[in-house]
């Protein structure tokens, strides 16, 4: 039966795949031009592009069977989270609302007026206004700690943990081939994220083992509690990354190693997605692969834009792109 649900989704995806930027366009984007010219040639800004990815996810949800639809809908919530974090940062640091507005992803069908929220006078005011959102409760749980220490970290981690725990739950509730696809794509992604979190807390945050364990996922497929414990007790990055199949270049510091794994993980995602869309798309993997290709495109465009701002050459930027792999 799910085959029939996926028929409409695959029609949509097949029709849209051709609209991804081709190699010639990528080459042109790497040619010398300013970020403003780049915006001009794309006709859209980076946040607009992210809005389009969110739209694609939202549209695809409507085609999917119930379980897979719930999963993809929740996966798509990451864009709402990005906007929520932008709002929290704007309010916490008292940023000019116009700066916050420029960073907000335009989301069709969102329930929240993010622009107005960015102008709320306080964090508790923001939470009051998004009381119906699933993220209000995790934020409330972290509020006392935030108020005591005035660190945004506690709010952000509360949202992230809640989002990823729910995502894990939804992945584990899938059946049949959708379950395998969800684990292969999203489960793998979550495992990598969890590993990166644990190392970031240890390296950048200098956190104690109990804090690292409390701020990471315990169920995260290939990198769950056991992995986090080893990281918390000092296991080297190369060893734990190796367990997930990533080879860190010898001689790198842990900070450099982390950056390398981030790029390797993104390239792996792109490879998975590219391979998946070459096969019939009548399964969840087709939907996830398409969304990942869109995300990879947006990520690379952001890298190109930032690379040009910092004066990198086309070939230097090319090495940092996911598509270059």
């Amino acid at each position: 039966m799910s085959l029939f649900f996926y028929a409409a989704a695959q029609g949509y995806i097949r029709a849209r795949l051709s609209r991804l930027l081709d190699r010639a366009t990528w080459s042109r984007l790497l040619e010398p031009n300013t970020p403003a010219e780049l915006n001009q040639s794309l006709g859209r800004t980076a946040v607009d592009l992210r809005g389009e990815v969110a739209d694609a996810g939202r549209t695809l949800v409507r085609f999917l069977p119930r379980g897979a639809g719930e999963l993809v809908a929740w996966y798509n919530q990451r864009f709402e989270i990005e906007n929520l974090k932008t709002v929290l940062r704007a309010v916490h640091y008292g940023l000019d609302p116009s700066r916050a507005r420029a960073s907000l992803i335009p989301l069709r069908g969102t329930r929240w007026h993010w622009e107005l929220l960015a102008e709320a006078g306080s964090i508790s005011g923001v939470i009051d206004q998004i009381r119906e959102s699933p993220f209000a409760r995790p934020l409330e749980h972290a509020m006392e700690r935030y108020q005591q220490e005035q660190r945004l970290f506690y709010l952000e981690i509360a949202i992230d943990l809640f989002y990823f725990q729910e995502l894990v739950r939804l992945i584990e509730s899938q059946n049949g081939k959708d379950a395998a696809d969800a684990r292969r794509f999203l489960g793998r992604w979550i495992a990598v994220q969890n590993l990166l979190w644990a190392y970031r807390y240890r390296i950048y945050g200098r956190m104690t083992p109990e804090e690292i364990i409390n701020y990471t996922l315990h169920r995260a497929f290939a990198a769950g509690l056991d992995t986090v414990r080893r990281v918390a007790l000092g296991s080297p990055l190369a060893v734990e990354a190796g367990r997930l199949g990533f080879q860190v270049s010898p001689g790198l510091s842990e900070v450099e190693g982390l950056t390398e794994i981030e790029v390797l993980a993104e390239r792996e995602r792109f490879r998975f997605a590219t391979a998946a869309v070459r096969r019939p798309l009548f399964q969840l993997r087709g939907v996830l692969a398409y969304l990942w290709l869109l995300e990879a495109e947006v990520r690379d465009l952001a890298v190109i834009r930032e690379g040009k701002l910092t004066g990198l050459t086309g070939s230097e930027i090319g090495r940092r792109l996911v598509r270059a792999a």
Partner: protein, 638 residues
């Protein structure tokens, strides 16, 4: 064409003097004919007073909502305030009246909050003291232990097992005492040596420590009795407070609703105006107005201001600007708009395909689902859904009607051949049905080609119009392959017609470097362009064939539908035959009804839209006093 083409838009700049600003914006919002854009010319800046005013209304709305919620009322829906809105002045009146209401209610609210907090504290205290019942020592003596650190507090329920994992390095005690909603009352203990680790683990799990109420004194049973006595007193107080709430609600809900509506409307105006840039005493209201509404807007604005307002009107340039799309779909076609908007919104330069998609979708659906009886069931289901306010109902009903029409052409009802087929029976004329399906597909693809030519013309995208696979060159190749192939095969056309094929293929192959050369665009390296062009050509040629043949499924499903329906009929004889008939019909109508809908949608999205439709437009969302209007037009795209 007007049904297909988006409304012509004009970029409109209104230069409004400060004293006229409110009435002009109010008039524009009531007309709902201006899609606002954030435009800030050099030397113009938005006025901070209006930001302050917008925030003020936002705050007033929040306070009003809070008051309505506290009293258990909902803001009663109703018309927008009829009188002119004056956001710069109205807030004073709203504020004064709201403050008066708040003063009346605040005493009650404070007493309610105090009582609720006390109740909560007492209940937590009771839970803690109950744990101590086996001990025969005064509660106050337990507060200063020397070798143990003991703490009681609340944490998110989901974090309790996480804390246990985080404490893997030390001996500890965690006792969940009670869980309410998603929070757990927890007792945690460890040796004093490990107090720091316990504290860090608890804090990082968002633990909030609590202390026992002052009433908890003496031996545990005495303390518990004291707490319960106090709790009963507070419950009586809470009951009295609820009666007071009902009385207040009946007196104040009318006024609060009216204030809420006025604050919301003024807030929307203020929210719009705060984005208008100002220079001296002049505000710039910039946005898009449908050309057909321009005179109406001009008259309304002049009339509101009491004198002519300076207005600059510019033609839209969709190649330079992101122009919003407004398609005035006739009312009868609106239920089908979602067939297109699910995929995307047509951009300003694109023709809106709703009409063609509706007609072709219904024909395809009917062809695959042709049966008078099954169509009737679907029609009735659609009408029932519609009566339950389900938007999809009209589409389902129309699909059912189309199924009935094709049922007449096939002469079938509930799988029975009830009359002579006006056209044919699919099982009897399989080849005719399949060829008709492909021919229909060819027609639809060519409509797509034609729409692509119009879209390219409207966008002045000449390479797309002339050289690309869905442009003139591509269409010529398609027809040379199809028409030429058939013509030569049936000896209607001379074989030399086929010589056009390599010429057109070559043209498509080099279309990108050729377009770059003709229109003097920056070009990619020739080698790369040729390699890319070759694969694009390959994809185009195979696409022409596969896209056309893809429509064969229309015929195949028509045959399958008749076959499946016949099967149900053949098994529905005998004593329990009616059961088979009912279940089989439900299966055919429910299961196949969904499948053919998806197949038709797939043909629309992939085969048809792929020829011409990008769907990357943004909708025209006018400044309005209705909920959501302003925010949407300011780019939030709610």
């Amino acid at each position: 064409m007007s049904m297909l083409a988006p409304e012509r838009m004009l970029e409109t700049n209104l230069f409004v003097l400060e004293p006229d600003l409110e009435v002009v914006t109010n008039a524009l919002a009531r007309m709902e004919a201006l899609h606002l854009e954030d435009a800030v010319p050099e030397g113009w800046t938005p006025s901070p007073e209006w930001t302050e005013l917008a925030n003020r209304y936002n705050g007033l709305s929040l306070r009003l909502n809070e008051m309505l919620n506290a009293l258990g009322c909902k803001p009663a829906g109703g018309p927008e305030p009829e009188s002119d809105l004056r956001p710069t002045q109205d807030w004073r009146d709203i504020e004064a009246r709201l403050t008066a209401v708040e003063t009346r209610v605040q005493g009650w609210q404070r007493r309610l909050k105090e009582s609720e907090r006390e109740t909560q504290g007492l209940k937590l205290g009771e839970s803690q003291v109950e744990l101590l019942l086996p001990l025969d020592v005064p509660v106050e003596d337990l507060r200063g232990l020397q070798y143990q650190t003991v703490t009681v507090g609340i944490m998110p329920a989901g974090n309790v097992p996480r804390v246990a994992e985080a404490l893997f390095q030390i001996p500890f005690i965690l006792i969940p005492l009670e869980t309410r909603k998603d929070r757990t009352l927890l007792l945690a203990a460890s040796s004093t040596d490990n107090a720091a680790i316990l504290d860090r683990a608890l804090k990082s799990a968002f633990f909030e420590p609590i202390t026992l109420p002052p009433e908890a004194l003496g031996r545990p049973e005495q303390a518990l009795e004291a707490l319960k006595r106090k709790a009963r007193e507070i419950q009586d107080r809470l009951n009295d407070l609820d009666h007071e709430r009902q009385k207040l609600a009946s007196e104040l809900s009318g006024e609060l609703s009216s204030l809420w509506r006025r604050a919301a409307a003024c807030g929307k105006l203020a929210e719009a105006i705060r984005h208008f840039p100002k220079h001296g005493e002049v505000f710039l209201i910039s946005g898009w107005v449908p050309a057909s509404d321009l005179d109406r807007v001009r008259r309304a604005v002049d009339s509101a201001a009491g004198h002519p307002v300076a207005m600059e009107v510019l033609k839209a340039d969709a190649n330079r600007q992101s122009v919003p799309t407004l398609v005035r779909t006739p009312r009868w076609l609106q239920p089908f708009e979602e067939l297109v908007t699910t995929f995307g919104i047509s951009s300003y330069n694109e023709l809106d395909p709703t009409l063609i998609v509706t007609v072709s979708f219904l024909i395809m659906y009917g062809m695959m689902f042709g049966d008078l009886g099954h169509g009737l069931l679907l029609l009735l289901t659609g009408l029932w859904l519609r009566s339950r306010k389900v938007d999809l109902g009209i589409l389902v009903a129309a699909a059912g009607a189309s199924g009935m029409l094709f049922g007449l052409l096939y002469g079938a009802a509930f799988g029975h051949q009830i009359m002579r087929a006006a056209w044919l029976q699919p099982l009897e004329g399989i080849w005719t049905v399949l060829l008709t399906a492909v021919a229909g597909g060819v027609v639809l693809l060519n409509i797509g080609f034609a729409m692509n030519l119009v879209n390219a013309w409207r966008s002045k995208d000449w390479p797309r119009l002339f050289l690309e696979k869905n442009g003139v060159a591509g269409i010529a190749l398609y027809w040379t392959l199809l028409g030429g192939g058939l013509g030569v095969g049936f000896r209607i056309l001379p074989a030399r017609v086929l010589l056009l094929i390599p010429v057109l293929c070559a043209l498509l192959w080099i279309h990108e470097p050729l377009a770059n050369w003709i229109w003097r665009r920056p070009s990619a390296p020739m080698g790369e362009a040729l390699v890319t062009g070759f694969f694009e050509l390959f994809e185009a040629v195979t696409g022409y064939a596969s896209n056309s043949l893809s429509f064969i499924r229309l015929g195949a499903f028509a045959v399958a539908h008749e076959g499946l329906s016949g099967l149900v009929v053949s098994y529905s004889r005998g004593r329990w035959g009616w059961v088979v008939l009912v279940l089989g019909t439900i299966l055919v109508v429910g299961f196949e009804g969904v499948i053919v809908g998806i197949q038709a949608l797939r043909l629309e999205y992939y085969e048809f839209f792929g020829r011409f439709f990008q769907g990357r437009g943004r909708p025209f969302v006018p400044l309005s006093l209705q909920t959501g209007g302003i925010h949407a037009s300011l780019g939030v795209r709610a």
